[in-house]
């Protein structure tokens, strides 16, 4: 799988309360959630995000609550993938379970750069800076979940 997109960049410890504030958790509709995505961190996100954009962040992305509404809101906003130095563990598993591509990678990337992610080769190309960074591919078990389209499809397939 290969993805190309423009980067929207954030810092460390982006928590689930700013990704989707709890005041909007009285719904699980992806469209409604996407309309408030990142609202308390970045009011411009919803207007400027375009299909295929890639969020790049620092350490501990998605820390805080277990709300699956957070990766759902990001995915429904059209974001193609999230790249971070590290992820909070529940966010990590939620993203995999719902099929939002994520990867742990520490590369030099700035806001607005265009990057290409090659999941099969485990390479991230910064097309703007013309650099390549390698990342560790998912373990087989998780690749199977992703390949079958998420956790529920994978257990159905058993």
């Amino acid at each position: 799988m290969k993805l190309t997109g423009k980067v929207i960049k954030y810092g460390d410890n982006v928590d689930t309360d700013v990704i989707i504030p709890a005041r909007y958790l009285n719904t699980s509709d992806p469209g409604e959630l996407a309309a408030h995505c990142m609202e308390d961190l970045d009011r411009t996100f919803v207007e400027r995000v375009q299909k295929g954009d890639i969020i790049v962040a620092g350490n501990n992305f998605g820390c805080g609550s277990s709300r699956e509404h957070a990766p759902i809101a990001i995915k429904a906003s059209g974001v193609g993938a999230v790249v971070a130095k590290s992820f909070a563990r529940i966010f990590y598993r939620n993203a995999i379970n719902i099929g939002l591509p994520i990867l742990e990678c520490d590369a030099e990337i700035d806001e607005g750069d265009r990057v290409e992610i090659d999941f099969d080769r485990g390479e991230l190309h910064n097309l703007t800076k013309n650099t390549v960074t390698a990342f560790a591919p998912f373990p087989d078990f998780l690749q199977n979940i992703i390949a079958s389209g998420g956790l529920m499809s994978s257990i159905k397939g058993e």
Binding site: V18, L25, N26, S86, A88, M152, I155
Partner: protein, 444 residues
């Protein structure tokens, strides 16, 4: 010549030697968490980084996370849950229903629970905040493996169980199969000695730890508490500490099982506890020694729980609201601490002090002990159990620029209301003292 303390000790050693031979002479002991995960996944040995499928003793969801899980469960065409006694729903976050959408969500969970014959469904009138309710009802005992679609599910590690927060899809899969995939964590060991000073509680200890290691200091790891100091911590303190393991990024926090634990569960459950302890030669990523007698009253400043400060560094911070409650500090012991300070005093005129007993039983006990009277006479508002203000749901939302001292566990931007509001995390004694002083104040 090796000496054994008991026959069981000897048996364990023999088993270990056998395993050692199998592993080509290389044996690394397991942490307490790894022991539980090995047992629950049918492995003799697991190691950090390994992905396992484990059996789930209890799977829990609330009115925010269960609807998403139910949608996934139904979409996948599942029609029955794996065990009606092992699925728990608690309507606590936006309940009693705060608005029409919340009412719809609760209704969806209620109907699903009815249809599937779920035995542990807790609705308004019976419910309490999930992580206070489950231990109180004896639903978690030592040796259990519990997952919940709520990050603070790690609370039950206080009782020597493995418990961790997962997402709604994980919950859906576990409801269907009784299993969960887990990556075996490595661990940080906290070696506790001494005793906490007066007016210093489990909350201060965990805030102190957060100040030391940060909000990703235990990312993906277990926090294993051990040492002579554990014994002095009440079960309530242990629940509070394990509750906030997730604030360090941890997968779980776990306490050894001792007399206090066994007594606590014996009063509440008829099931037999299974006690696991870490191997003597267990390998830890890090060992941190903490002398409890040196921990001070600690407050976490906005907007991260790791911004821990002690009173030498806290000056004149005027506040608008105090919240005493939540799954972190809404237990009877916490209310007793707060009432002790508020007794015969008045909440400052410009402060709203909201007290929320975490469960119906706690509410009733507090009433019978006269605590509710003390709160009301001091000028506090006392509410039926709910998560309410803790996550900015209802029952005490902050306006722009307002500050709140809360006994809750998170002070992220916008957590309790307006993105420009501020939450300061503290123990119930500091919260009560601050309500009286009208500013952040230590409990003397």
């Amino acid at each position: 010549m090796k000496t054994y303390h008991s026959a069981r000790d000897k048996l364990n050693h023999t088993k270990k030697c056998r395993a050692q031979r199998r592993n080509g002479g290389f044996y690394m002991g397991m942490t307490m968490t790894q022991k539980i995960l090995a047992a629950k996944s049918g492995n003799e040995k697991v190691e950090a980084g390994q992905i396992i499928m484990a059996d789930v003793d209890l799977v829990m969801g609330n009115d925010v996370t269960a609807p998403v899980a139910i949608n996934e469960f139904c979409r996948a065409g599942c029609d029955r849950v794996y065990d009606r006694a092992k699925v728990v729903f608690v309507l606590d976050h936006f309940a009693p229903n705060k608005d029409i959408k919340a009412a719809q969500q609760c209704k969806q969970v209620r109907e699903f629970a009815g249809e599937k014959g779920i035995l542990n469904f807790f609705d308004v009138g019976e419910m309490g905040i999930e992580h206070a309710l489950l231990p109180e009802k004896g639903m978690v005992i030592p040796g259990d493996l519990v997952i919940g679609a709520d990050s603070h599910t790690c609370t039950y590690g206080a009782l020597g169980a493995f418990s961790t927060g997962v997402g709604s899809t994980d919950m859906a899969a576990a409801m269907a199969t009784g299993k969960v995939w887990l990556k075996v964590p490595s661990a940080i060991k906290f070696n506790l000695t001494g005793k906490l000073p007066k007016n210093v509680y489990g909350k201060d200890l965990i805030l102190h730890i957060l100040g030391m290691i940060g909000v990703d200091g235990a990312l993906y790891k277990s926090m294993e508490f051990s040492g002579d100091g554990v014994e002095s911590l009440s079960i309530s303190d242990r629940l509070c500490i394990a509750n906030m393991a997730i604030e360090c990024g941890a997968k779980n926090g776990v306490f050894p099982v001792d007399e206090k634990t066994l007594e606590y569960v014996k009063e509440r459950s008829s099931r037999a506890p299974v006690v696991y302890g870490a191997d003597e030669d267990a390998v830890y990523d890090q060992v941190i020694d903490i002398d409890l007698s040196r921990v001070k009253q600690t407050v976490a400043f906005p907007h991260l729980p790791e911004n821990a400060r002690t009173f030498e560094d806290i000056h004149d911070i005027k506040i608008d609201q105090v919240v005493i409650g939540s799954c972190t500090n809404g237990r009877l012991e916490d209310l007793m601490v707060a009432a002790d300070i508020l007794k015969g005093k008045k909440v400052a005129k410009h402060v709203r002090c909201i007290v929320i007993p975490a469960t119906q039983k706690i509410y009733l006990d507090a009433m019978e002990m006269g605590l509710i009277k003390i709160f009301i006479e001091a000028g506090c508002a006392v509410s039926t159990p709910t998560c309410g203000p803790c996550l900015g749901g209802h029952m005490g939302i902050l306006a722009e620029g307002e500050r709140c001292v809360a006994t809750t566990n998170r002070n992220f931007v916008g957590r309790m209301g307006h993105p420009e509001s501020e939450v300061y995390l503290a123990n119930p004694a500091v919260a009560a003292a601050s309500a009286i002083a009208g500013k952040i104040a230590p409990a003397e």
